[in-house]
Point group: C2
């Protein structure tokens, strides 16, 4: 596509999405449910075609020399399709957030003022290889009453187009506009740049992918971005921690999964308890093959630990490496976390009431925990039912973002002809 | 100040504000109250010095040829100082939003998950001539537990410095860090540009001023901006409106004040009721000296109206001019508002239940009203107690922004040693 035709294609996509968003905002819960269940049925019925389309993508990726982890993320099998279908049923069962009115009160003037939850409008989602994101993103945006413009990875082109055909048929079946979910049908990288300039038509951009992608999009976008950057998560073992609990929580925070944003990357240990927890932790991490990098006091207790460099305190390893620092106590721990952390998820292990309260109040992160594994920081575990991502921003949505994060609130005023006297 | 020294001054201001914000986030309601009441007392005690400083600003403004409306906004008298003092007492009496925990529930895993309201951190406020904004902005940010960096208009420099001296003494008296409220002590315009680049230290920018200022800041800022652009507000008189109520609401929506963002700029009238409401409205607006610009059907009923151009439907007059359009009915009215409006405040006058509900749901504006004057769209009228501004954004804060808009929510998790099983 030429530059001019790409720009006009994208502007048409934006205008159509804006128009569709007006219809979706007014769609009933039943309308949206019909579309979601039709998508689930359509994926089941179109399973063979989807597997075939995916096989084409995988073949091209392998012959094109795509790295194996990315190929793994691209592959769809029967179990993956079953999970997509199950996910659609789960989203369908979530309460519809649209139209909820809260805080409706009478004011002294006689007007009644409240807040109504409403869709954001049009949401642009830019993501990488996993084709299941197409279904997740489309279904969450739809349930929250938003139109969506989806830009999947070029390596998943055929899989995504097959899914898009199912979605289009489902929207038809539910008599919702096709432009309610628009998967871009171009692999032109310039389409992303055009999308980020459609501020007139698109209300928010949600990028899902590696840090490089997200930083580039945030930098380039003229539209607000709900973004997830680093997860440099900490567990702080307080002097008054239960030793067994501290060991269990710290091991789980690292070992439950390595390559997730809510995995612990730095362990902080209060000096008075260090000699009681670090040896057991050293054994546990050694068994799991985790490389330890510690401060001098850590290394005095853990012979196997390498020296930590200043840069280790800011590192998101996403793998079997852990930084460990012995600190004097709570003040040092909070200062360390607020200095080096990424405001994602941080936990204290303690039985001290006052220090637990201070940690909760003073650690400036999206999720702050007492006596629980950082790996609980997740939309499903928090009861959001689903998650479009985890936000490391402070404005609008902080932490796991579910349906509520895809909506906003407007003020509604009910009167009986009141006028303002000044 | 040279470029280099300005940059290092601003980075120091940012770093100090960030450090102060940590202390403020942990400050008790009583600490903050002491500071707010000390400010009120300090303004009363320092009244003479403040009036003298203000007189210097006004003299310079007049001799420098500043336009009269801007000079008027600059002038402080005893009544204005009394209002500042009263405002501080009001902010002090507002409930402290910080630390409120909501939605705390047990999850099947045993962890207890909720959301805690916390300060945003550091807020940069950029504003024009009114010196009272210095007190309002500082007190609202402080009450919400945020540090603030204030950049006032150069024409109010001496007034603002006098107020800043009172604020500094009040912070000392309350044993809060002076960097909790930092008024920039330079009139160098480049300081604004530097402030907008302090993303590391500043969490949000709130510009207050004309549209030009706000557009420039939004464009230039690397920090999220809570902004207010146009207020192109509508009243739609439905076919089933009470005629007297419709006339009263439409007149008040325009006439209560002209130069406010919540004043009606376009009146929409359903065709079946036009001949019953337009003549009375024409008389009312004529008496008040309002110039009317109407569509052809409007002019058939109002001989005095001039023809409206397409551009009139997008105009924020902020003065005694009104655009009027006769529409077929609700669908046309909603389409007009969502096309030409600025998503600020829009009202319907009707006794039709279904159309009132549809207007509320389908008009995509920050405030949507039934049978009430648009001029009620205001933080005080809505019961927020105070207002830092009215947001026309959809994300984070929409409509009048009070203390809640100066905070965010983080997730808090209480456990008993739970770990995640996958």
């Amino acid at each position: 596509m030429g530059t001019h035709s790409l720009e006009s294609y994208m502007r048409q996509v934006g205008a159509d999405a804006r128009a569709a968003s007006r219809q979706l905002a007014a769609a009933s819960t039943a309308d949206k449910s019909r579309a979601l269940l039709a998508m689930a049925d359509g994926l089941a019925a179109g399973r063979a075609a989807l597997l075939e389309a995916n096989a084409r993508d995988v073949e091209a990726a392998v012959s094109g020399g795509l790295e194996q982890p990315l190929v793994d993320r691209l592959v769809l099998d029967d179990a993956a399709i079953d999970r997509m279908i199950e996910g659609l049923h789960q989203v369908d069962k979530l309460p519809d957030p649209v139209g909820e009115v809260t805080d409706l009160v009478y004011r002294p003037t006689g007007i009644q003022v409240g807040r109504m939850r409403v869709p954001l409008g049009v949401i642009g989602i830019i993501y990488e290889s996993r084709p299941n994101v197409t279904v997740e993103a489309a279904s969450l945006c739809l349930k929250a009453g938003n139109a969506s413009i989806l830009r999947g990875g070029s390596e998943a082109f055929h899989s995504n187009q097959a899914i898009a055909a199912v979605i289009a048929a489902s929207l038809d079946a539910a008599r919702l506009p096709r432009a309610a979910v628009h998967l871009l049908n171009t692999t032109d990288r310039a389409a992303v740049g055009e999308l980020l300039r459609l501020a007139e038509f698109v209300d928010v951009i949600v990028p899902r992918g590696g840090k490089g992608l997200i930083e580039r999009i945030s930098h380039e976008s003229t539209i607000p971005v709900i973004k997830h950057l680093d997860g440099v998560c900490h567990v702080y073992i307080d002097a008054d921690a239960d030793v067994d609990m501290a060991v269990a929580v710290a091991l789980n925070s690292k070992l439950s999964k390595f390559a997730v944003c809510n995995a612990m990357e730095t362990l902080l240990v209060a000096a008075p308890i260090a000699d009681r927890v670090l040896p057991a932790l050293g054994d546990g991490f050694a068994k799991a093959g985790v490389e330890l990098r510690g401060c001098a006091r850590t290394r005095a207790l853990l012979a196997g630990a390498r020296p930590a460099a200043e840069s280790d305190w800011r590192e998101e390893y996403l793998g079997p490496v852990l930084a460990i620092r012995v600190v004097e106590g709570l003040d040092d721990a909070i200062a360390h976390i607020n200095t080096y952390g990424s405001q994602h998820t941080d936990a204290i292990v303690t039985n001290h009431y006052g220090r637990a309260r201070r940690f909760l109040a003073e650690v400036d992160s999206a999720s702050v925990m007492v006596n629980a594994s950082t790996q609980f920081a997740d939309g499903f575990e928090y009861g959001l039912g689903a998650e479009i991502g985890i936000s490391t921003d402070k404005l609008h949505a902080r932490g796991p973002v579910g349906l509520e994060g895809l909506t906003t609130q407007k003020y509604v005023v009910f009167g009986n002809g009141e006028i303002r006297h000044r």
